[in-house]
């Protein structure tokens, strides 16, 4: 097989996923956290596609489409939730939304 070897794609995927995780865990803004989730999803998508190409099978593509559909739906719902939180609490700082405790 010519061109870019699969390990590069996977390395990029790992880097993107790690950035997503770091953003999810360490950023305080809900919007950034949300974007980090999208980043993780797309990192996974990238590795799916890479494997799909490597193994010459269609399964990876199908999973990727599923993930994209879910991500789109999630974006809609998630943004709606974020809007509602902002409306009710006047903040988007994730640490201030902790009413599940107690």
């Amino acid at each position: 097989m010519h061109g870019v070897p699969i390990s590069w794609y996977l390395a990029l995927s790992v880097v993107l996923f790690g950035l997503g995780v770091a953003g999810f865990v360490y950023r305080k803004s809900v919007i950034t956290v949300f974007m980090s989730i999208e980043l993780m999803l797309n990192a996974v998508n990238l590795s799916f596609i890479a494997f799909s190409y490597q193994l010459q099978r269609i399964d990876g593509h199908i999973y990727t489409f599923f993930v994209m559909v879910v991500a789109a739906a999630e974006a809609a719902v998630g943004l709606a939730i974020i809007l509602t939180i902002f409306k009710n609490r006047g903040t988007l700082q994730i640490d201030e939304v902790d009413s599940l405790k107690n």
Partner: protein
């Protein structure tokens, strides 16, 4: 022949009155209650006439209750000569008392409840009498105990009545424990509980001169009898059981249920005949109870208490009879006692009814003018229990005392003196109630015919019942001892007449004598008046230690410490402790959760990597 029809009528009466009695009118309840017993009585008469001349026992098998290994227990009913007497007494006297109760309970609440219990009692008593094995007999035995409990506690809003009911039930548990142990030993030794098979098996057994298995069995069964038939040491419940309505005292605690122990021993005579030691114990306990209870009877002022101790005493006579091997004499006395003691109680009930609940003899007196029928019928009963010549009690008591005279002369003398004491206390109560001047505050009136009718029938039976010679009737089962010796009869009659004369002297002729006798006796009188402090002694040596043990060991120790603090609360604390630990994870911060998810994922990957690496 359908013997099952005999007990089924009262059972139906119980179900009808018990389930829908609340909505029925009083006359309907009365018809159901009395009609069912009357139907039973009629069917008993019919059955017995069909079974004459009773050459052999007639048995009906209905179904096998259970079969387990060698033990086969069937629901079988048997009628033989002994059963015939019991059937007639139970249904006949039962019918009279039911009729009487219609009048007595007329103004009481819970009319339907009373009669449904009373019918249930009849059912269980008939099962007890008809059963042809010991286990079904025990079903009836426990059933009558239950009804006794329910009826003693009939006025359950009164503390003393529910206490008395509990006492009756608990004391009977002690006796029944012995009874059950006896049955278990019987099963071990004979592999059956059926009277017929037991009799065959026992016939081959040798007579036990030392204490052995048969002695143990018979003594244990006798423990059951001391509970049910109120003998020393378990008699204490019967005097208290007078808290129930008077017809109950007459039916259950005088005429029928309390005689079940005597019946049981007569039924198991084939076994008792092989155990002279147990027989001796039965006779001695019976005699002691007879004397003991009779002396207490002298000092009581509650008319029902007098008759209650009298019942205990007379039951002692019956046990003396069966203990001496004179089974037919014991059963004879059982029958005549059912007549005159039922009459004594019903008469007392009539007095109580006429005086609106007054039971204290000191507040009676001179009632002869106000309630003549009650007076004369009670006189008949008093004569009968005193063994006045040619009344029923004369014949049966004579049968027992003659047997004692032949076998154990000292028992005869004690028994004869007791007969004198019996005559004294019964006539003391009679004279205090009906002679002299009226000392009460109510307006005495004679009871209605529905109550005096049964009194008159029972008076006839008390006077003439002795001519129904039970020993002759039972001769095929229990051979007659041909004694022509008139001495014991004459002696006991003299004692009886002396008792009556003394009572006349002290309570009619010179009432001041009674008071001076009381002061002369001094501490002895106090001792007897307080029933020898037996209740207090039992309370001190059994009840109180048991209560203390329950309180400090079972309640504070086992229940509070082990169960409550240890098991229940301990489990709670354990769960709460773990919960507190896990609560630390629930910070409410999403980033915190995400960190845990990340850590978990990494851990899983790490572990999978390790496992994969090992392969």
């Amino acid at each position: 022949m359908n013997l099952w029809l005999i007990p089924i009528f009262p059972l139906l009466g119980f179900l009808l009155n018990g389930l829908i009695g609340k909505r029925l009118a009083k006359p309907v309840i009365s018809i159901i209650a009395v009609g069912s017993v009357a139907a039973s009585f009629a069917f008993v008469l019919f059955t017995l006439s069909q079974l004459m001349p009773f050459s052999a026992a007639y048995t009906e098998h209905y179904y096998t209750w259970f079969q387990s290994g060698f033990l086969n227990v069937g629901v079988d009913f048997t009628v033989d000569r002994l059963t015939a007497i019991m059937l007639l007494v139970v249904t006949g006297v039962g019918l009279l008392i039911h009729t009487y109760a219609l009048g007595y309970m007329d103004h009481e609440g819970g009319f339907y409840r009373f009669f449904s219990y009373l019918n249930l009692f009849m059912f269980f008593m008939l099962v007890l009498v008809l059963s042809s094995n010991l286990l079904v007999l025990f079903v009836g035995w426990e059933g009558v105990g239950l009804c006794s409990y329910l009826l003693v506690g009939f006025y359950f809003t009164e503390k003393f009545a529910s206490d008395a009911a509990n006492k009756a039930f608990i004391v009977n548990r002690i006796g029944d424990f012995g009874f059950m142990l006896g049955m278990l030993l019987l099963v071990i030794h004979f592999h059956t509980l059926d009277f017929g098979k037991l009799a065959l098996a026992a016939a081959h057994a040798p007579v036990e001169s030392a204490i052995g298995a048969l002695t143990a069995i018979t003594l244990l069964l006798f423990v059951g009898a001391t509970g049910k038939s109120a003998q020393i040491p378990l008699y204490v419940w019967l005097p208290d059981a007078m808290a129930g309505p008077t017809p109950v005292s007459a039916l259950i605690h005088a005429a029928t249920m309390v005689t079940a122990g005597v019946y049981m021993i007569a039924r198991m005579a084939f076994l008792y005949d092989h155990t002279p030691i147990a027989m001796h114990v039965v006779a001695v306990i019976g005699l002691l109870t007879a004397v003991f209870a009779a002396t207490i009877g002298i000092t009581q002022y509650d008319i029902k208490k007098v008759f209650a101790y009298s019942t205990v005493s007379q039951l002692g006579y019956m046990f003396l009879g069966v203990g001496l091997g004179a089974y037919s004499a014991g059963v004879f006395h059982l029958m005549t006692h059912a007549f005159f003691k039922a009459l004594l109680f019903l008469g007392a009930g009539s007095v109580i009814h006429g005086l609106e609940g007054e039971q204290d003899l000191r507040h009676m007196g001179g009632l002869r003018k106000y309630m003549p029928i009650t007076c004369y019928t009670l006189a008949a009963a008093s004569l009968a229990i005193s063994g006045f010549p040619f009344t029923s009690g004369f014949f049966s008591k004579d049968a027992i005392l003659s047997a004692a005279f032949e076998k154990e002369p000292w028992m005869f003398w004690v028994g004869a003196i007791t007969a004198g004491v019996t005559a004294f206390y019964v006539f003391r109560a009679f004279f205090m109630a009906f002679f002299g001047r009226y000392r009460g505050h109510h307006h005495p009136h004679e009871s209605p015919l529905v109550m005096t009718g049964p009194l008159m029938v029972l008076a006839v039976l008390s006077l003439g019942g002795g001519f129904l010679s039970v020993p002759k009737w039972l001769a095929p089962t229990f051979p007659l001892s041909e004694s022509e010796n008139m001495t014991p009869m004459i002696i006991s009659v003299i004692f009886g007449l002396c008792g009556i004369a003394l009572a006349w002297l002290m309570y009619v002729n010179k009432p001041s004598l009674a008071e001076s006798a009381k002061t002369a006796a001094g501490p002895l009188y106090t001792l007897v008046y307080n029933k020898y402090y037996i209740d207090e002694i039992y309370s001190a040596i059994i009840v109180k230690p048991l209560e203390l043990f329950s309180k400090f060991v079972l309640w504070k120790g086992v229940d509070d410490t082990v169960i409550d603090k240890g098991a229940v609360n301990g489990l709670g604390h354990l769960v709460r402790g773990w919960g507190n630990l896990f609560r630390l994870f629930q910070s409410g911060s999403i980033r915190n959760y995400a960190t845990w998810v990340l850590a978990g994922s990494l851990l899983i990957i790490f572990v999978l990597g390790l496992v994969g690496g090992a392969q």
